[in-house]
Subunit: 404 residues, 2 copies
């Protein structure tokens, strides 16, 4: 007799996959009065709602068909022009043809993995790194190695030694967030950027530069992106893929990202995108294009960076009072403060107490490809208000007091 | 000396990938006066712009944060409720928990491939079938076999014989568009649907039912979806995955699709989506949710189906005058008429002449997994106006006259 029960079989990486550890924390968000330093959500109060509403109204009124119909897979020409212009203002000479629109920068990484890599191949990430990149690599069956970082990001001297121990070409791709990294907030200094580019040429690997936070600098000196610097290093231009997004500077709800890559890679990403979602929501693309064309983002950015800077300063000030509990590195931009619990305290144990006190953060473990530092933690100052930051840190202090 | 030129290496399926053959035709669309029967684009004149504009205005005014912030990976609860209700009206008892939102139904297929299949495994498609599904399977390194169809879709007797020659469990997945298929327009009759479900149980494979067109019936008797019928066949309920989309009935520009699958599959698709695009554009989700909640789609559907029915009838009437050139099967719904050139004429050769006459269609080859019928072609009546249908068929007649 035939067994009627379905026997589901899954791809190897999906036999028993674990979801995002950060998303697992979401259930605590709905506890009454919870203050969250956990997510990487932008501040809802900072959304430029009036100008987005104006762009949305104009988009449908003036170009309904562009909004509602299918679009070219690589994106609406008007948006690609605007994004190329934005990259130019960020110091990278990019034409419309160098760039494709993606459904958030997360999709850029997914397309690159599809196009470039096969299960078992080796990629390198910063230690610690962005968990959704780590998860994307793992679910694609890739081997993920870590590169040493310090308070300034990737330690390129260590990286040079690490690479020297391997045959040239054995590393396929290095993924990094060099500007205001998630989770560390670190900004890679100019000389390390140039060293990293030279290493990519010497050891023949691709650099994927993920840059969602770069425009959110609130202190210190501007440092050009790896993409902008590549022409200064012989042979490096063909080895940088740049991902960015409007999620942190305009709104995640648009799901608008972009990918800049050498033609052979970019063309294949477009082919892959035909099978992935055909095109990024044209309505959202048209709204974003008009918002950018109006100059609204350029006008909004200074206040945005100032606003996040103010929140960061407030959190750092509050953390000074907790210096016996947690030791942190002050960032120059972005949305995150990275730290370590003092006295051998485990960040997960602290989180349990913190949740009881109605404050949340992310323990550091999900950010490590291997050998997590159990004392590490990430605090985001982006979403909470200044008052919530003050109150949340008081609660964190109480939670820590109960542990010590 | 180190060679500075990058040596790009790609995943095996991306060494020399070919893009969509249909998208390759796009360049001819811009020729002056071109009439296209080629794409599967909905009619822009049928977009319900006033009600979409109202939903969009309300979405941002009443729920700006839902629109602009990140959303849960499986979709906004309000939209999932509306889509579950819509499935109920289509005869399938579905709860909010059975369903996840996807970035178009194309993403549903991409997630399923990621979660379920490994390179080298075998899937079965209708012959002919939807090219972007074929391409998705191929770029994932899968082996794609074809199942025989006739004017009523999948020939389930042939399929039973085909499956009987293989060990149980050797087929992982069958992908089909049973209701108004792309490209054939065929609607699988009730008894064949039940037979197909029984075969899935007997041979232990999953059916992926892609149903973007089912609501666009303009003649004949309603037939329930495979999802709706599955509970009538012992053991079949756990073997149907259903994909659908608002692209053909509301607007492709929203990129809103959905996936209904047994929990072990759906949960893994959500995990995969975390690495793919985090969530489908919340702004588009909220607009779609309010549009559906208002009852606008239900009110629009009868006129929509009537409108496409009128276009289809007009094209069929015109094709009667070309019956010495092309032989076609009249569909009961959807957007496509499938045909064969008479007299051994190659559809690609006819297309060249047709383009000179400023009319386009899609030659059938890209719809075949193997052994294409070079005489076959697909005509879409959806996008052109009634007058363009008349004029386009006159031009097609002239193009054929020059070939014969």
């Amino acid at each position: 007799m035939t067994d009627l029960t379905p026997t589901y079989r899954f791809a190897p990486a999906f036999q028993a996959p674990t979801g995002s550890a950060i998303r697992e924390l979401f259930k605590y968000l709905s506890l009454p009065g919870m203050i969250s330093f956990a997510g990487g959500y932008p501040a809802t109060a900072f959304f430029d709602q009036p100008h987005l509403a104006a762009a949305a109204e104009r988009a449908l009124r003036e170009s309904a068909v562009d909004c509602l119909q299918y679009a070219a897979t690589d994106g609406l020409p008007l948006l690609r022009e605007q994004l190329a212009g934005l990259m130019g203002r960020r110091g990278a000479a990019v034409t419309v043809d160098d760039l494709m629109v993606t459904t958030g920068s997360q999709q850029g990484l997914d397309l690159l993995i599809k196009v470039l890599l096969s299960p078992g191949e080796r990629v390198l990430v910063e230690c610690p790194t962005y968990p959704a990149a780590l998860q994307a690599f793992r679910l694609a069956g890739l081997q993920v190695d870590s590169a040493v970082t310090d308070g300034d990001g990737l330690d390129t001297d260590s990286l040079a030694e690490q690479l020297a121990r391997q045959p040239r070409g054995s590393l396929r791709l290095l993924y990094c967030v060099p500007t205001f990294a998630n989770p560390t907030g670190a900004c890679l200094p100019l000389e390390r950027r140039l060293a990293l580019l030279a290493l990519a040429v010497e050891h023949d690997f691709l650099i994927v530069e993920d840059d969602p936070y770069g425009a959110l600098r609130f202190t210190g000196q501007e440092v050009p992106s790896l993409l902008a610097l590549a022409p200064q290093v012989d042979g490096a231009s063909g080895r940088v893929v740049h991902l960015s997004s409007l999620s942190k500077v305009v709104a995640p709800g648009l799901r608008i990202g972009w990918l800049i890559a050498p033609a052979p890679i970019r063309q294949r990403c477009v082919i892959a995108k035909q099978t992935v979602d055909l095109c990024t929501a044209p309505w959202a693309q048209q709204i974003a294009a008009l918002y950018l064309a109006d100059g609204a983002l350029e006008r909004a950015l200074p206040a945005l960076a100032r606003g996040y800077g103010e929140k960061c300063a407030r959190m750092l000030a509050g953390l000074e009072g907790l210096s016996d509990v947690v030791q942190v590195s002050p960032p120059q931009g972005g949305m995150f403060i990275w730290g370590r619990c003092r006295g051998g305290v485990d960040a997960s144990a602290l989180l349990q107490r913190a949740i009881e006190e109605r404050v949340m953060f992310v323990p550091g473990s999900p950010f490590y490809a291997a050998h997590p530092d159990a004392s590490s933690l990430r605090l985001s100052f982006a979403a909470p208000s200044l008052e919530q930051i003050d109150e949340g840190l008081l609660r964190l202090g109480r939670a820590a007091g109960r542990l010590l």
